[in-house]
């Protein structure tokens, strides 16, 4: 397995055995990752709605951009290989 993930409270640290890098996943990024991992094929709107519910956020105008940023970050790390 390429990634080792350890969750602490609402954050996580991830070790990439391929690169040797360690990454910190902030609460929103971790929530996005867990939601996508548990619900492959989820639409963008449903993902935003689920993240908002889990983190008790309002689905305001900033949330789509924040979720997109989190997806980009997970993609850069390699934790998500497709979007």
């Amino acid at each position: 397995m390429r990634f080792q993930l350890k969750e602490y409270d609402n954050e996580a640290v991830v070790f990439d055995t391929a690169s040797g890098d360690t990454h910190l996943l902030a609460p929103l990024t971790l929530t996005v990752f867990n939601t996508v991992a548990r619900n492959p094929g989820l639409s963008g709107t449903d993902l935003q709605s689920s993240v908002a519910t889990q983190l008790a956020l309002s689905t305001n105008t900033q949330l789509p951009a924040m979720v997109d940023d989190a997806l980009d970050r997970l993609h850069q790390i390699g934790l998500l290989s497709t979007r």
Binding site: Q4, Y8, D9, E11, A12, V13, T17, G20, L24
Partner: protein, 312 residues
């Protein structure tokens, strides 16, 4: 025998010849030097440590300090630190020979002792629980460490926290505590029991001196300790001493970034670091008065295990 049982002349003679063998924590050293301030520093600070004839015992690290050339003994005199007859550093001014020995020994451990995850942090223990104090320079880490060990805490290390990769326990390495600049008079004023050696001035870190480790810490230098807290100290003028919880994930990242060999250990470094974080509570700590800081740490160590959970 202990170093303090050697006469000063015997020590100087052995240092100038085959060297002396000395044990510090899990490591054995062979030290050679003809420089009087090196002998003086060892007498002042390592009296309680075990020494042997260097010809009779295996040593993990072979180090020497001497002038680079005959010329450099007289003209702008300098000192070289050698490790296995190699020169890992550029020479320093001759009167910085003793701090160079301490810095060189830290380098030997941090570059070679990969049986441990080595974090750049002080670590102290009380009532069986160890507090790891990582912090950038200027945070007051060494001052706080010195104040705590002068107040009954056991010194495990001032600079290098050694996490045993097999057991997760902290291996003591109770060498002298490095004090810089204003920390020196602060600790002298804090306790009459503090023995601080002759300062070296104009080093890369300013004025540097070392505090002798407590006798009890040296006596227990082979007794590992259970990690209980990671605490980030920050001296701040007029601050009331206070602990505030901090993110465990962010603490883990800081420790990884400030470990000497985390990358070298690969996935095992991650395993050891995350297991450590599983075992500890993490805090930021601000203080201005050393006696108040000691009181907060004592309270933390004195609470029962059940009460300790409430701090988490």
């Amino acid at each position: 025998m202990k170093l303090l049982q050697m006469s000063a002349s015997d020590l100087r003679q052995q240092l100038a010849g085959a060297g002396i063998w000395m044990r510090t924590g899990p490591f054995s050293l062979r030290i050679r030097s003809r420089i009087p301030s090196v002998a003086e520093g060892l007498v002042d600070l390592y009296g309680q440590f075990e020494v042997r004839n260097a010809r009779e015992a295996f040593a993990d690290f072979h180090v020497s300090l001497d002038a680079p050339s005959l010329l450099r003994r007289w003209f702008r005199p300098q000192v070289d630190f050698r490790f296995d007859d190699q020169l890992p550093f550029k020479p320093l001014p001759y009167d910085q020979a003793y701090p160079m020995l301490e810095w060189g020994l830290n380098w030997c451990v941090s570059m070679h002792a990969h049986q441990y995850l080595i974090i750049h942090a002080a670590v102290i223990e009380k009532n069986g629980c160890a507090a790891i104090l990582p912090a950038p320079p200027g945070s007051g880490k060494s001052t706080l460490t010195a104040g705590l060990v002068l107040s009954g805490w056991r010194l495990l290390s001032d600079e290098l926290t050694l996490i045993d990769r097999t057991t997760g326990m902290i291996q003591p390495l109770p060498r002298p505590v490095s004090l810089k600049n204003q920390s020196i008079p602060v600790i002298q004023a804090f306790s009459a029991d503090a023995f601080i050696n002759r300062p070296s001035h104009d080093t890369a870190k300013g004025t540097v001196a070392h505090m002798r480790p407590p006798k009890e810490s040296v006596r227990r230098q082979h007794e590992p300790a259970q990690p209980a807290w990671v605490i980030f100290p920050q001296w701040q003028a007029h601050a009331t001493a206070e602990l505030t919880p901090r993110s465990r994930a962010q603490t883990m990242m800081f420790l990884a970034q400030n470990a000497f060999n985390y990358s070298h250990l690969g996935a095992d470094g991650f395993r050891v670091a995350t297991r450590l974080i599983d075992q500890v509570s993490c805090y930021d700590f601000r203080y201005s008065q050393l006696d108040e800081a000691v009181a907060v740490f004592d309270q933390l160590a004195d609470v029962s295990p059940d009460s300790r959970l409430r701090y988490a």
